[in-house]
Amino acid sequence: MTADAGLVAENLTLTRGGREVVRAVSAELVPGQITAITGPNGAGKSSLLLGLAGLLSPADGQVTLEGRALAALAPADRARALGYLPQSPDIAWDVAVENLVALGRLPWRDRGTAEVAAALAALDLEALRKRPVSRLSGGERARVLLARVLAGTPHWILADEPLAAIDLAHQFRLIAHLKACAAAGQGVVIVLHDLALAMNHADRVLVLKDGALLADGPPEIALAPAVIAQGWDTDVTWIGEPGAQALTFPAGGH
């Protein structure tokens, strides 16, 4: 895979409110994979995702998509290529599920009836299509918001904590959908707080600490206990089989 096919951060530095939140991060992300971005609180995970989505202008360095700088893309072109899912946004108006999902078609300036129907079907939302969003459970809401991104048929799905605040069964369903997207050739980049989810389901993990890249690689390497000790100041061990691992803390450890 060449750099031209991917979403590439080159020496990316981002600032928010005058403070450096991402420092000189370089990473070449490839489609067809689930890439997890993780790190302790305040490490710059969400900021890096915003930068990759072209929603935070680099203070230094750049992000390129298929060889072209994101900053040089027209907003509508960028929007068609990169679908961004913010962390549990509040929805201003009590619209019906299908109308909310159809907002994903805005960059295309069409109704996208087929794409909206496909997105509703992919996330098992057909029965809820007429329901107002205020009457959805947390898990249903998370699926609707992801369906909104899918309806835009982006090459890349960039999701900030899509699994937070939803229960276990819905987490696994959402992960299965994201895996299906990756298998179909889309790039999937998600910010994850839960290291076990990243370990078991990501193809690649980026670990951030204080805005800098601490580790980047397959989860066994990027989330090795030594890296976690360095990133989170916590001693842990992984237990269980590959694909179903869990973290344990040593008794008496901090």
Binding site: L50, L55, L103, P107
Partner: protein
Amino acid sequence: MTRANLVFAALLAVLVPLSLLAGRVWIAPGDFGPGNTWLILAELRAPRAVLAVTIGAGLGAAGAAMQGYLRNPLADPGLFGIAPMAALGAVASFWLGSAIPPAWAAWSLPLMALIGAGLGMAALALIAGRTTSDATGGAGGGIALFTLAGLMLASLAGALTALAITLAPNPFALSEIVMWLNGALTDRSWREVAIAAPLTLAGIGVLALAARSLDALTLGEEAARSLGVEPGRLLALLVVGIGLTVGAGVAVAGIIGFVGLIVPHLVRPLTDRLPSSLIVPSALAGACLVLFADSVVRVLPLVTELRLGIALSLIGAPFFGWLLLRMRRGRL
């Protein structure tokens, strides 16, 4: 044509002829013969009705756009500070009074009001314009800062208007200013229609261009930007659209509040609730509301006609209270 458009267009079609017949002198349907009746209709009632429709449409559309932009059902175009700035411009024209050449006298008030609205728009764009780009780091300054800038502008314009009132050159100017500030459509002519109608129509057109971007804001500012919305362009459309509609209204009728707040609530249940579905029906519903209110104040048996601005505030303030109660119960 959507259901909401159909409902309010039909209502307007009923209200327009009724308002032409209603007033101190009631006109029987069919009694359109030559003489006074025709004069009353053509020179008094018709321009007044067209003006009510124009101003109501502008305020309704501005209210729908404003609520969409601020993502808040309690927003009113008055919050933008453009109406108080236009009023300040109008009050300045009273103040200048004799300094204005007689040939210009008839135009000075609406012109000064429009200049006030224009200055308000420029100030808003200057204060809030640059911060809505992501270059500052997207720290959420955009829309919140914009609201605060509007409030600041409204307070400043209000204070300067109060100053102009206390320093009024003579008691007649004082009484004229105070009367004018409580908006009304009394004694308006086709001249006012010629000023307000093209500007309002242009303003509604500009707001309609912002409609889909407002839909995207349903998901929040960052999601909207990720959908290709350009905050700077959206801000410019809103400022120009609201400046034109509200500025034109204040220029010919004074301050008429609450229409922009109330109307989107009447329309929303008939639509899919997205801001883009509200703008045109809110224009129609706003036209209905102002036309209806203006017809009612005309026929109320009072010594002097109740000012339209006061009447709408009397309806609007309790309505606002009712909205707050509904919001408290989580039904908004």
